[in-house]
Symmetry: none
Subunit: 129 residues, 4 copies
């Protein structure tokens, strides 16, 4: 579990945890059925309160990325993830709109943004796509 936390970021800690786990699934480091550490263990590892980890797990559960088993901890459930595609695309579109707006005003060519995105796709998903 390689979560790079940035406590000075304005991105909430629980979202950093959530995003790190989603990236882990994307890269294939976390696979369907893999167990996640307990909230207590992960919290101790990265130096955050277990409630914060729990909030991240709850969110991942509601988004269809993990399953939380009673008394048995959390496991990756990548298969469920497809049902939230529409919601994801809406959020992604809004986020992309802000990026594109700023790219245009800062005279960053669209090819550069496409290139950056492709690099990220290659880096993260090279072994899955």
């Amino acid at each position: 579990m390689l979560l790079n936390m940035d406590f000075a970021s304005d991105e909430p800690i629980y979202m950093q945890i959530r995003n790190g786990i989603v990236t882990g699934i994307a890269t294939g480091k976390l696979r369907d059925g893999d167990p996640l550490p307990s909230v207590r263990t992960l919290g101790a590892d990265i130096g955050v309160n277990l409630h914060t980890v729990n909030k991240a797990y709850k969110r991942l559960q509601s988004e269809g990325f993990i399953e939380i088993l009673r008394n048995r901890g959390a496991v990756i459930r990548a298969g469920d993830s497809e049902k939230n595609v529409v919601q994801f695309l809406e959020i992604a579109e809004n986020s992309l709109k802000n990026i594109v707006s700023e790219a245009i005003t800062r005279k960053v060519d669209r090819a550069i943004i496409h290139q950056i995105m492709d690099n990220i796709f290659d880096e993260l998903g090279g072994n899955t796509q």
Copy 2:
């Protein structure tokens, strides 16, 4: 000034104002030298406190999008915007990383994300790029 505010969004109001103005610059609706409404006027127009507008303007100023002139209000200063490109690319990269991660896990093909982005580029910047 067509700012579509969403008071139910979890995106702060001042960021919605900020993003709307950046998009306005991107689309060419706001051009270099154009005056922005006073914080009081815009606040009254969209139904928010003048301090909230002021916060958006201050941020736009620090990001190089506008100049705030002593008692003449704010004006678009698109020319200065290029000096913040590196900072923008870092933030954009982080944001894109989250989008790409989720796209991969949700099995959304990269071509779709590229297509969405191109659509936004065409929609916003068709007359400038």
Copy 3:
């Protein structure tokens, strides 16, 4: 935290707070990693509103002097301060130009200004430079 506030000064309160903290870092009274009081605590201590303290902290953050951690308050981050050297030198040069101009017109010898500056360097930074 020894901040000498002057409420009759035309220097804004938040700038007095900001300057006092920068001086604290310069003298070594505030060191890298040291926590600052919360905006509420410091506000109560010196008798100003928490928003005024917050404004000073936000500025210190943007200038690279402190980090503001989500719910742990602000800490000194002296290490980051070097990246703003160019900006500082520009502002300092403008300020010095005004001082020098007035010194010349008032027939204050340059040696006196150098001497005053050295005294301040010795007083503030005697233990660090």
Copy 4:
């Protein structure tokens, strides 16, 4: 009269005028007895309201830099300037303290600040000191 106004600066316009005239005296471009343009003329030249110029002149008068003659306009009165030396040194010291504090925290060696100051002295006062 070479006044470089910056309307986006947080330095008030009337202070920029005041500082520009003091610098003019320092460099010898403005000499004892020289007439200043009328507030109306100067205001038109640099694009500011005549009241703003008037405020600068009033201040220069109270600081001993100029004399305002009834119906005859303002003239440089450099000779009077020496009686305000103590007040100047107090203000300069406070300003220098802020510069020095920031220089120390940003690890800018004192020699550099001295050098910058000497360059300004040479540039401005080369023909008078």
